[in-house]
Structure formats: C-alpha cells, structure tokens
C-alpha cells in the first residue's frame, strides 16, 4: 500500500478551468511537500506546508494542509498550458537513521489550449 495516495491519477482539462488534486494518507506528518515535474526534468519543489490547516498561495496555485496533517490539496485557478506536468506530493520520514523523501504516485495534469 502507498503511504501517500494521490487522486486523480490523470486529469485533462481546458485552459481557464479550475481544478483540485488531492494527496491523502492515514498517517500524520510534521510537514508535506508538493513538487512539479516536467518531461525530461527532475521534480522541482513548489511548497512545503507544516501547520495543520495551513494555506499557502503561489500565484494561481493554492496549497492546503489538512487540520489533522494527514492530507493535502492543490487547487489551480484558471489553469494555463504551462501548468501541464506531473504533480507529486511527498513527505520526509526518518527510518533507522536514514531520511527518505517518500512520494505519492502523482497526478498527471494536461491543460489543453
């Protein structure tokens, strides 16, 4: 079973529409990160949320951390073709002295002009 479940796995919408993608878990985390990955590149950090209920905005992107710190959402307003990419949530966990940045499976977003 995945530590982080992302939904939907695929989303294709028209330019100008709004959308929300989700990252859910049954575990509680001290923080959660969102990354965007474009073809041929590595993931790039968008935001880190650390407080239950926290909302962070990055231009047209709004990130929310659940009150119980088990889930998060990413909302995009008036999507643009440049928003196309793979959106990944991730948490940093410490196991036996090793740090692991564990990713969800991602949401592959396509914005059609």
């Amino acid at each position: 079973t995945q530590l982080l479940e992302q939904s939907p796995q695929f989303l294709s919408i028209q330019e100008g529409e709004n959308l929300t993608v989700y990252c859910n878990s049954s575990s509680v985390f001290s923080s959660l990160q969102w990354y965007r990955q474009e073809p041929g590149e590595g993931p790039v950090l968008l935001v880190t949320v650390v407080t239950g209920g926290e909302v962070k905005k990055l231009k047209r992107l709004t990130f929310q951390f659940g009150d119980a710190r088990k889930d998060s959402s990413l909302h995009i307003t008036a999507a643009q073709p440049g928003d196309t990419g793979l959106y990944l949530c991730a948490v940093l966990i410490l196991i036996q002295g090793a740090q692991k940045l564990v990713f969800g499976q991602g949401t592959r977003l396509t914005i059609n002009p």
Binding site: V44, L88, I95, G97, A98, Q99, K100, L101, F103, G106
Partner: protein, 116 residues
C-alpha cells in the same frame, strides 16, 4: 555547477551488461538521494547518503544494485547484469543537510536507462 548533474543523460545497454550512473551533487551538499522512476510512475526511493555513509540500503531493488559515495561528493549507482525491468529514469538529488532541517532537496534531470 549550479545544480545537480547526472551522467549519462541517456544510456542504452544490452541485457546482462553492467552500467554505472554518476551523480555530482550541488557543492557543499552533504545529503544525497537516489530514486528510480519508471515510465509514467512516481518516484521509488533507492538509497540515501549522509556524507559517505548510507544508513539504509533496503530500498535497493536487488543485490545487483549498489551505490557508493566518495569524498562526500560524487556518487555512483551501479547496476550489474542489467535486466529489462531495470529500464527507468534514475534521479539523483541533494540537499545541504537532512531535509528535515528545512533544507530544500534539489533534483538532477536524471539518467534514462534502457535495457534491450
């Protein structure tokens, strides 16, 4: 360099051959990570280095996989006797220290491995 550098960017190899993938982290970054990403999938954690030490190697898929880091800088991921299921993008990342301390983890562009 300014970012995490990986080489080769693309590698096609025959089944059964050994391959070495190299990662040059950002200068001064003590933490280094290797991930594998199969086509259209998320990232699978392989191994983490703090300095030259890898406290947990359990993410490596089999004993054909090994990784080392020397001088607290460059790391090499070696896959012996490659199999077709090893085909994937291998991503390296680095950070100043552990990411838990709030340091951003930066990824390279990856090495695309195809085993034929």
């Amino acid at each position: 360099g300014a970012g995490v550098s990986q080489s080769p960017s693309n590698k096609v190899t025959e089944k059964g051959k050994d391959v070495e993938l190299r990662c040059d982290p950002i200068s001064g970054h003590t933490a280094l990570y290797w991930y594998r990403q199969s086509l259209g999938q998320g990232l699978e954690f392989l191994i983490y280095f703090q300095g030259n030490s890898a406290p947990d190697k359990s993410g490596l898929p089999s004993d054909r996989f090994s990784a080392e880091r020397t001088g607290g800088s460059v790391s090499t991921l070696t896959i012996q006797r490659t199999q077709q299921e090893d085909s994937a993008v291998y991503l390296c990342a680095s950070s100043l220290a552990g990411g838990n301390s709030g340091n951003t983890i930066y990824f390279g562009e990856g090495s695309w491995l195809t085993v034929v």
